[in-house]
């Protein structure tokens, strides 16, 4: 469960807020995507949920932030570590630099949590397989391609099994099918393990398919919040600097040319588009 009550935040020296009056409740087990143009506040929202705002970035935070039953502004980053995991947009920021192999890097968080050795070994091997990193387990984290580093960053957070998982554009360097797989895993973690997942993303096709809910941020405010099919087909999307999927674009253009002009439910996914155009 995540609760934000009228949250406003200024980075140090900033004169405009990065988040402005954000009130939000995300129930346990929900997979919630956050979309918006660059600068809309997506990363700041992620940092706020994980406590990096205000504990690392300082600045001025007002309002209440509660994540997994913990009062975030009142807790230290160390206290928050077991409750919420954050995957940074740039995997380079995630990698500790304190470990020499991919396997050790993934184990780093578990070591700090004091997980027993045998359990640690099992969890690390499981996540290596799941992240497609088993063949790279002995390689230095710095001798990976950009996309492989991003897989490592995701794996090293998921291995800790935090009840709340926050990810800031975690698939920006992943190949297309790899991206879709990450979305599917997040959906499964939310659905079967009751993890609460908050994902800032630009890849609207996979948001449309996998997320339970979509929030649109614009200039630090929530301007839309609802089911993917409703939010992503909305004509308002463009004014927030977002481009609908090609499926929605094609349906809208086809309607302008007189095709199925009576339909008011535009497709956002491939499956819906097949139904619309058939």
């Amino acid at each position: 469960m995540i609760r934000l009550g009228d949250v406003t935040y200024f980075y140090p020296r900033a004169t405009t807020p990065a988040l402005a009056g954000v009130t939000l409740e995300i129930p346990t087990g929900q997979f919630c995507a956050v979309i918006g143009a660059n600068g809309a506040g997506k990363s700041t929202l992620c940092y706020t949920l994980a406590g990096f705002v205000p504990h690392f970035y300082r600045g001025k935070l007002s309002g209440g932030v509660e994540v997994a039953g913990v009062d975030v502004p009142a807790s230290s980053l160390a206290q928050l570590a077991g409750h919420v995991g954050l995957v940074f947009a740039n995997p380079f920021n995630q990698i500790t630099g304190a470990r020499f192999s991919v396997r050790e890097e993934i184990a780093f968080g578990l070591e700090n949590m004091g997980v027993p050795l045998e359990e640690m070994a099992t969890r690390v091997e499981d996540i290596l397989g799941f992240a497609g990193l088993r063949d790279l387990a002995e390689r230095s984290p710095f001798a990976l391609s950009g996309g492989q580093q991003q897989r490592l960053a995701i794996a090293s957070v998921l291995v800790m099994r935090p009840p709340v998982i926050v990810l800031d554009e975690p698939t920006s360097q992943l190949d297309p099918i790899g991206s879709r797989e990450v979305f599917a895993v997040l959906r499964d973690l939310a659905a079967t393990d009751a993890a609460t997942v908050v994902l800032a993303e630009q890849k609207l096709e996979w948001v449309a398919v996998f997320a339970d809910r979509v929030i649109v941020l614009h200039e630090g405010r929530i301007v839309a919040d609802g089911l993917p099919g409703d939010v992503l087909a909305s004509a308002d999307l463009a004014q927030y600097g977002l481009q609908p999927t090609r499926y929605t674009q094609a349906a809208r253009a086809a309607q302008a040319a007189g095709f199925r002009a009576d339909r008011d439910d535009l497709p956002v996914t491939l499956e819906e588009a097949v139904e619309f155009f058939r």
Binding site: G241, A254, A257
Partner: protein
């Protein structure tokens, strides 16, 4: 091949008036193994004609970045050769190759060296020996192109990562090289940023420059690049017109890539053709009913 006096003239020529001199790229049977022992390229051969727009797609770790780092001489082949124009990359320094091949890194933080955005964008042109007036004009034009004119005095690290990526893009544009290479240009960009970069690719094409990009954004690839190369495990699996290569779902799937959204839709609907643009797709749909 490395006469000192000759080089200055060459560099300046390539950077200015002769920017559009025909400059084919010939990659002949190139293999490359990193010092760690990882073999990243296995016998890659390809030819890029002057003025072509080529996208390289493929799964993480396929060797895409390793391949393009060979085109500007950052990496030298373990076997085989790379020739740009009449220059074999093994016989020329990276600094010299920079007059012919501009390369925008995947991670902007691997590229940025200066303390203001303006100085950063002027860095390459200065190294190429562009005369001052011309350099200033190129820097101003490049900053305007990426929408960062007002940020010229800003420290690059006071910008967001997507903005820093635009700074590195401007740095390469200001060098006015006949060949421009982008490594994941749309990474982290929003719809406005993707449209901006698409416009830059189109104007480079209109000027007759050769543009290569690595991208996971298949819809971006479909919109702007006439030719697509599909890589897997250090080899080119497929190479041809994007309109053809990007419809080969079976080949793409072997390297973790899917066809563009509209191609998948056209294939699911069993349309006769799979257009790459919304306009083309709508024309196909509307035409179907007649």
């Amino acid at each position: 091949m490395t006469a000192g006096g000759q080089r200055t003239t060459d560099d300046r020529g390539a950077a200015t008036g002769a920017a559009l001199a025909p400059m084919p790229i010939v990659v002949a049977n190139v293999s490359f193994t990193y010092p760690s022992g990882t073999q990243a390229l296995r016998g890659v051969s390809l030819r890029v004609a002057p003025g072509e727009a080529v996208a390289i797609v493929g799964e993480n770790g396929a060797g895409k970045t390793t391949l393009v780092k060979h085109l500007n001489g950052l990496l030298k082949p373990s076997e085989g050769s790379v020739v740009v124009g009449d220059w074999d990359t093994r016989e020329h320094t990276v600094a010299k190759m920079a007059a012919r091949v501009g390369y925008v890194f995947q991670n902007p933080d691997d590229q940025i060296v200066e303390r203001t955005v303006g100085d950063e964008v002027a860095f390459g042109p200065r190294r190429l020996g562009q005369p001052e007036a011309e350099r200033q004009a190129n820097v101003a034009a490049a900053l305007a192109t990426v929408g960062l004119t007002d940020a010229a005095a800003t420290h690059p690290y006071d910008l967001t990562t997507p903005q820093r990526k635009l700074v590195t893009l401007a740095s390469v544009l200001a060098m006015r090289t006949p060949i421009v290479i982008f490594d994941e240009p749309t990474m982290g960009q929003d719809a406005g940023g993707v449209a901006l970069i698409g416009g830059i690719v189109e104007s480079l094409k209109a000027e007759g420059r050769t543009v290569l990009t690595i991208t996971h954004d298949i819809d971006f690839c479909a919109a702007h690049f006439g030719r697509a190369i599909v890589m897997a495990a250090g080899q080119a699996l497929a190479d041809g017109p994007a309109a053809e290569v990007l419809t080969r779902a079976d080949v793409l799937a072997t390297t973790n890539v899917e066809p563009p959204q509209l191609v998948r839709l056209a294939q699911a609907l069993r349309l006769a053709r799979a257009p790459l643009t919304v306009e083309g797709f709508v024309a196909e749909i509307v035409g179907r009913g007649q």
